[in-house]
Symmetry: none
Subunit: 229 residues, 2 copies
Amino acid sequence: MHKRILIVEDETSIREMIAFALRKAGMDAMQAADARAAQLAIVEQVPDLILLDWMLPGTSGLELARRLRKEELSREIPIIMLTARGEEMDRVNGLEAGVDDYVVKPFSTRELIARIKAVLRRSQGDDGSGMVELGGLRIDGPAHRVFAGDEAVPIGPTEYRLLYFFITHPERVYSRTQLLDHVWGGSVYVEERTVDVHIRRLRKTLEPWKLDDMVQTVRGTGYRFSISA
Amino acid sequence: MHKRILIVEDETSIREMIAFALRKAGMDAMQAADARAAQLAIVEQVPDLILLDWMLPGTSGLELARRLRKEELSREIPIIMLTARGEEMDRVNGLEAGVDDYVVKPFSTRELIARIKAVLRRSQGDDGSGMVELGGLRIDGPAHRVFAGDEAVPIGPTEYRLLYFFITHPERVYSRTQLLDHVWGGSVYVEERTVDVHIRRLRKTLEPWKLDDMVQTVRGTGYRFSISA
DNA sequence: TGTGATTGTCATCGACGCGTAACATTGATG
DNA sequence: CATCAATGTTACGCGTCGATGACAATCACA
């Protein structure tokens, strides 16, 4: 699940540097030197996120951002603006244009990567409020509560942690050992079969809302949390 | 109704960026580069909320938070911690110092604004008159009185402060330590178990109005004040 | 200074959740 | 279809945590 990032930046050296950093971070880098090239690239292959230089020859970055927000195809794509110091204060209609974040030059690639990840995380349902929602289930982290629809689900500590782990790591199989490491913590030793029992208990607490089939058994491997039955 | 936000952060560029985003969002931004400047700024003009960098030259953010919690003037001001590479340690310590929320760097300005609004909203059924209302309970801050419907509720000082904190911070779990910090103040040392007793007393005073189930136990974690049973 | 209210601490009791074993069921493999 | 392995299900004992009531110290106010 490599993320595709489109870099729109006229200076080749900067573009290459960013592309290199992205690839090292396990992302796919697409490149464009101006607004026209960017739009073509997007049509050809829709990226997961766009890095947009503020200053571009011809159509400015801000203008391009506005345009992308109007197109159906590109409306939902998160945009991170790259601005030089000083440019921030005057022309920062960027936020109004629907830019998700902006990074001030010069930046470290490390910081840039971190920002990208933060924005991607947020565009995937994590709005930073500590709320996680998936398939009719909602977990309110700060409140330490679980809701099915708007009904509160009574749940014990361990089942809560287990469910929390599952809902933040859905659609993937985890072995009993992995679940023990993540949910119980590596320092304690308990039988692997104990996981089975807690899976059972979790299913039972979800049963009244017919959500117990989100917890799925993968025979010979472990368990998976998934939306689809 | 512009909210005043104090930014305590030593890095000028970050501070400026945040300040700009805040103004854009219709808030007034005050700035301070270290703990000393922060305290002076607070005395001069009390902010509605404080953004506090974890790492500060001289007095650390954590230490400053503790100090602010002890001062009468700043006890009630919500604090949002800005932490780099937020590890578990940071979170725990920060929350124990009576911090209201924390945001991990790097964050997008949009995320930060969202958090600020959330915290302000939470600590603000308060419309300025000092009246707070929630789920059939009403607190008259200036008068130091509590009403259930229109009946006055007889309540002692500590239970009053506990209830006041709860009603201004509903739908969220607080550990005993956190409650001690927020309600008792960081300067006194009392046993954690004492919280249990006052929870009990608070429940007993609310019982005649069947509101005692708003005070909820979260086993292994702490207590929560909530509308829904 | 006296009296009632308030507060913090402690000991005790009970409830709850947890881990484990024992047994039942299902699935795979030949 | 026989057999073994993997998982589902249930019951039980133990330990931990929270609830509760009692008590002594302190505070506020007459």
